[in-house]
């Protein structure tokens, strides 16, 4: 369809559509929910013309925070896929998200039990920075563990298998911590399933901070990710100091995963689906794919959260459940297509 258009125009159109969808998702995300607001009211409140606490205190931080979480997962997914030259590498499948969730839950239980930490979502409201840093260590350790178990990143099957094993073990450990405090199982469970309900302005601020830290190196290293697709030997032969660059990419992507998980729990498949859809429109050029995955992840998660909030209205589904229900079949489709090609 768009293949016939000149390259530059096709690429510009993709970004134009992504921005438009982002704006649409913002308005829809703020307008819809347990109580629906007319678009006019939403615009007025967004522009500060009228005061509407539902918009400014509840929905706006949730939608903006969700966009940042989605963007973080989209970029991290694209980076993992480029770094490991593996189209199925994703924060969820690599075990890093489970590692971050385990570390955050561990932190909460160390800080005087899970009950107070999760009772008022206090850990997210008051400790977004320590929670993210702790989650960062968890994400990084889990990623390394997955890589060690898989014997490197080259073999897709082993990588996914190792990631699933690491993720399951860590999720089991998280569940164990949860069970230590039966009163709060529900709240902690809602968190680990992936949930944007905990999003407030402090979380949004924390996300912005970590975004500003981790996004620039990733966006600036698109050329490195492109060169890596020719294999590590060729990339090194062209002069890239790969050891340092790969570590930097891994750290930056893990920081984004940790920031997302610390605020919103484990939200699967956004990092897998987003780059895949965009790769078809933008080619495998990571200089474009990374920023587009940020926009695409933001759109995707905001729309998924909209479903999570409205499907069973007035009750809410954890958004992680929605992304998993959408992402699981997509993953199967990818596996099936790869097998078809082999």
């Amino acid at each position: 369809m768009t293949r016939a258009l000149p390259l530059a125009l096709r690429r510009s159109l993709v970004f134009f559509w992504l921005l438009l969808l982002l704006l649409l998702a913002l308005v829809l995300g703020v307008a819809m929910g347990a109580v629906s607001l007319p678009p006019g009211e939403v615009f007025q409140a967004l522009l500060g013309l009228t005061e509407n606490p539902i918009v400014t205190e509840m929905r706006l931080p949730r939608v903006l925070g969700g966009m940042l979480v989605g963007a973080a997962l989209g970029v991290a997914g694209a980076s993992f896929q480029g770094l490991f030259r593996n189209p199925l590498a994703d924060p969820y499948l690599m075990g890093s998200a489970a590692g971050a969730a385990f570390a955050v839950t561990l932190l909460a239980s160390l800080l005087g039990g899970l009950a107070p930490a999760f009772a008022q979502h206090a850990i997210f409201q008051s400790l977004p920075l320590p929670a993210t840093l702790f989650g960062f260590l968890g994400a990084l350790s889990a990623t390394f563990l997955t890589l060690v178990l898989a014997g490197g990143a080259a073999r897709t099957g082993e990588l996914v298998l190792a990631g699933v094993v690491v993720g399951s073990v860590l999720t089991g450990a998280t569940t164990y911590l949860m069970m230590q405090d039966a009163d709060r199982v529900r709240a902690v469970f809602a968190y680990t399933l992936g949930n944007l309900a905990f999003m407030g302005w402090p979380s949004v601020k924390a996300m912005v901070l970590f975004f500003l830290l981790a996004l620039p190196p990733l966006l600036l290293l698109g050329r490195v990710l492109n060169a890596l697709q020719l294999g590590e030997e060729v990339a090194r032969s062209m002069g890239l100091p790969l050891e340092g660059l790969k570590l930097l990419l891994l750290l930056a992507a893990s920081l984004l995963v940790a920031a997302a998980v610390a605020q919103a729990g484990i939200i699967g498949f956004v990092g897998l689906i987003t780059p895949h859809l965009l790769r078809r429109l933008l080619d495998e050029d990571y200089r474009l794919l990374l920023p587009a995955s940020a926009l695409g992840g933001a759109v995707l998660l905001t729309l998924a959260d909209l479903l999570a909030r409205t499907l069973t209205r007035p009750a809410e589904l954890p958004v992680g459940v929605v992304t998993t229900l959408l992402g699981g079949p997509f993953f199967l489709y990818l596996m099936w297509r790869r097998r078809g090609r082999a």
């Binding site: 050329r223 060169a227 020719l230 294999g231 060729v234 032969s237 002069g239 890239l240 495998e284």
Partner: protein
């Protein structure tokens, strides 16, 4: 001292003390049975593997003394097989070859564009410049990857079996391209499987069991005795138009 020289290379893996040099304007073909250490030697000379003993010298200076981008501008390396970006356009793949000149953040200038055009042209890859690398046949892809290596405008080209996947027409074209590049002053070291292709090079070096078995002009090296030692008693050599032609005695 001009040239790319390996001196007394011992290890890694099979290499047991190898000396080999490529001069500017010279095409050296590296021949040898599987497991003789050819690819390892090539990677050592590309600066990708460190030998346990001995060293590689580029224009008289030890290779590790070069900055990595400086090395990338002087030496280009093309492995055999290996991963490739299926979803990248051919032109973009060749552009990646400018990386040693651009570094991480340099912007492409007019000269970069011209060199990319030249590399696409001489490898015959211009025709499919707008296609995805994953959509090409093995031979077409090999030409694009060679164009990527040439786009660095290196002084020395290190190639691991560059003619694999190419049909006869393009094998011939590629070997003619090597002769052309060499005439313009490039030094080429290529591993070749086929002794008949090696016979077209200026010099042939034969590796066996990690040691250099013979080295010299093709007609001097590619003798029946040596080739039978390498590949078994069924190998015969005929001479046509002053060049050795190797065939199997059925």
């Amino acid at each position: 001292m001009e040239g790319l020289e390996a001196k007394g290379i011992v290890g890694p893996y099979a290499l047991l003390g190898v000396d080999l040099a490529v001069r500017p304007g010279e095409w050296v073909a590296l021949l040898g049975p599987n497991g003789s250490g050819k690819s390892t030697l090539l990677r050592v000379m590309a600066g990708l593997l460190r030998p346990r003993a001995g060293g590689v010298f580029l224009e008289g200076k030890p290779l590790p003394a070069y900055g990595s981008y400086a090395r990338g501008r002087l030496l280009a390396y093309l492995p055999q097989g290996g991963p490739y970006p299926e979803g990248l356009l051919v032109e973009e793949v060749v552009r990646l070859g400018r990386l040693p000149h651009l570094g991480l953040w340099g912007r492409e200038g007019r000269e970069d564009g011209e060199v990319v055009e030249w590399a696409l042209e001489v490898t015959g890859a211009s025709r499919f410049r707008g296609r995805y690398l994953g959509s090409l046949s093995g031979g077409e892809r090999q030409r694009v990857l060679l164009a990527r290596a040439l786009a660095a405008r290196p002084r020395y080209l290190l190639l691991d079996e560059p003619t694999t996947f190419l049909d006869l027409e393009y094998q011939g074209g590629l070997l003619a391209l090597f002769q052309n590049l060499v005439a313009k002053g490039m030094g080429i070291l290529s591993i070749l499987h086929d002794p008949n292709q090696a016979a077209l090079a200026g010099r042939v070096a034969v590796l066996k069991g990690g040691r250099l078995l013979a080295e010299g002009r093709p007609e001097a090296v590619l003798t029946e005795t040596l080739l039978q030692n390498l590949y078994g008693p069924g190998v015969r050599v005929a001479h046509l138009m002053g060049r050795p032609h190797v065939y199997l005695d059925g």
